[in-house]
């Protein structure tokens, strides 16, 4: 821009706005156009004396650019040039990702757990620049619609809609006025669910949809906001519907929820032990039901065993104890079994278990002797404790000499 444009207030701005309106033209062509336009507008400015005169004769810079574009056979304005294109792409990407995340967040909105809205919050952060681009008109809705990826997705969506039976589509369309009722319902249910965070988010989104929805018909810049907000509410609605359906089928079928695991008289069985008719523990056996299906229980093993047989029908399952931060497998019986012939009574549980090898190969008296006398049952524990050592924390008396 030369010195004389500076001396004329508004001239440089007028030319700048023409250039901006034509910014999507190839750079060389734009330079050529401006070589024509600059002397022209400058001359008109000289003739009319001020900017108002220029606008009176040539119209606004944008109108001037539009007329030049039409007469010059240039393509209609679109986001074909660098930054505008990327801005439009960014806006589209953020919108699509936000729709997906909003739907997902809606699905989990009423479930427990914290941080379920973290991703949604992140989306809002990324959406702020896109919204700024939209509402400062640096990205127009038409720019986004001109993107190849948008047109592709739009064609796909319309083709999918065509495949649906027309009556179903018409029915869904007829439901549209009921959507505000659904929103109110969602809000009420969420408030009743008693989750403050979810209720706040749903309240915000319902308010947003109610405010922006009607306005988006005139102002298409609000459309992505409305679509994302509705996707969230749709997610909440689907989650509620699914919850309702599963609850009602459960009731109608009369099947109570049956958790996995072994049960005896209504309480959970953690482990199973077996003794022979003399009361000797059977060190290893496998359980099956009447169909030959293994009755598996989850057993905890020490780390060196790996996870290979964590879920096993081999019994008894090992019991894990940690002593001095080392994992010790206790595979013996944690109680002294009564001989099957004896009276049925609850056995007392000793603090120290019996080693399975010893109990399998030695007579029952030895078994009993391995337990501490304080807790031994009254049946066979006649012999005093012999070899049983207390906890390993007791220091050994043997000191190695250097």
């Amino acid at each position: 821009m030369s010195a004389e444009t500076k001396a004329r207030p508004g001239l440089a701005e007028y030319l700048g706005r023409v250039r901006t309106a034509l910014a999507d033209l190839p750079a060389d062509e734009l330079a050529e156009v401006m070589e024509d336009v600059e002397p022209h507008v400058t001359e008109v400015f000289t003739e009319t004396g001020d900017l108002d005169g220029v606008i009176g004769r040539l119209g606004t810079p944008e109108a001037y650019a539009a007329e030049l574009r039409a007469a010059g056979g240039y393509p209609p304005p679109g986001p074909t040039g660098g930054s505008a294109l990327w801005a439009a792409r960014y806006t589209l990407l953020v919108t699509v990702v936000s729709i997906v995340v909003a739907l997902g967040s809606g699905l989990v909105a009423l479930s427990g757990g914290s941080g379920k809205f973290a991703v949604l919050g992140l989306c809002v952060v990324f959406a702020i620049p896109a919204l700024m681009l939209l509402f400062t008109d640096r990205v127009r809705p038409s720019d986004v619609e001109a993107l190849g990826s948008y047109r592709f997705a739009n064609r796909g969506a319309l083709a999918l809609l065509d495949k649906l039976p027309p009556r179903a589509v018409a029915y869904l369309r007829s439901l549209r006025p009921a959507w505000w009722l659904v929103r109110v319902l969602l809000l009420v249910v969420t408030l009743m669910a008693g989750q403050a965070e979810s209720a706040l988010v749903v309240l915000t989104v319902v308010a947003l949809v109610s405010w922006a929805g009607p306005r988006s018909r005139d102002d298409r810049r609000l459309l992505p906001v409305v679509v994302v907000a509705n996707a969230f509410l749709a997610g909440v609605a689907i989650a509620l519907l699914a919850f309702g359906i599963s609850a009602s089928t459960r009731e109608s079928n009369g099947y109570p929820y049956s958790p996995s695991g072994l049960y005896y008289n209504g309480s959970y069985v953690n482990n199973v032990y077996a003794v022979d008719e003399e009361g000797n523990a059977i060190p290893q056996f496998y359980l099956y039901d009447e169909d030959g299906t293994p009755l598996k229980l989850y057993g905890e093993y020490c780390e060196d065993r790996g996870n290979e047989r964590n879920f096993d029908n081999r019994f008894p399952l090992p019991r894990i104890e940690y002593r001095n931060r080392t994992c010790v497998v206790e595979s013996g019986i944690p109680f002294v079994p009564l001989p099957p012939g004896a009276t049925d009574r609850t056995p007392s549980v000793p603090t120290r278990p019996i080693s399975p090898g010893a109990s399998a190969s030695t007579p029952p008296t030895t078994t009993a002797s391995a337990t501490s006398p304080a807790t031994a049952p009254t049946t066979t524990a006649a012999t005093p404790p012999l070899t049983s050592t207390p906890a390993p924390s007791v220091p050994t008396t043997v000191t190695p000499t250097p």
Binding site: S2, E4, T5, E29, E32, V33, E35, D36, V37, E38, P39, H40, T42, E43, V44, T46, R57, L58, G59, Y64, A65, A66, E67, L68, R69, A70, A71, G72, G73, Y74
Partner: protein
């Protein structure tokens, strides 16, 4: 009738015609067209048309430095432009004659 609609179809021909004998920069072309009676021609339309004819290879252009203002870019008709001018002129005369005939007959009837 809105003459701007009529202008759209013949602006190419008009621009080529006013440049036939003498090269000119954009504002020259505009003045010649208005001086010739096409008062309604839009400024920006003329500039757009010049660029389009140039891109179609019908015009040449060269920049002339100016002491008083921005450099002026002059346009001139090249050989291809002259050929186009002859063709378009013939088409226009035939068209105008046909329109004249139609209008005369309708008026007489």
């Amino acid at each position: 009738m809105d003459t701007s609609q009529l202008l759209k179809g013949v602006l190419d021909l008009a621009v080529l015609a006013v440049l036939r004998d003498e090269d000119g920069y954009g504002y020259d072309v505009l003045r010649r067209l208005r001086g010739g009676g096409l008062e309604e021609v839009g400024d920006a339309s003329v500039y757009g048309t010049l660029r389009r004819l140039y891109r179609a290879g019908l015009l040449t252009s060269y920049v002339v430095p100016s002491d008083e203002g921005p450099h002026r870019k002059y346009y001139g008709v090249n050989d291809a432009g002259r050929e186009r001018l002859v063709d378009s002129e013939r088409a226009w005369r035939a068209f105008a004659e046909a329109m004249d005939g139609i209008l005369t007959k309708e008026a007489a009837a």
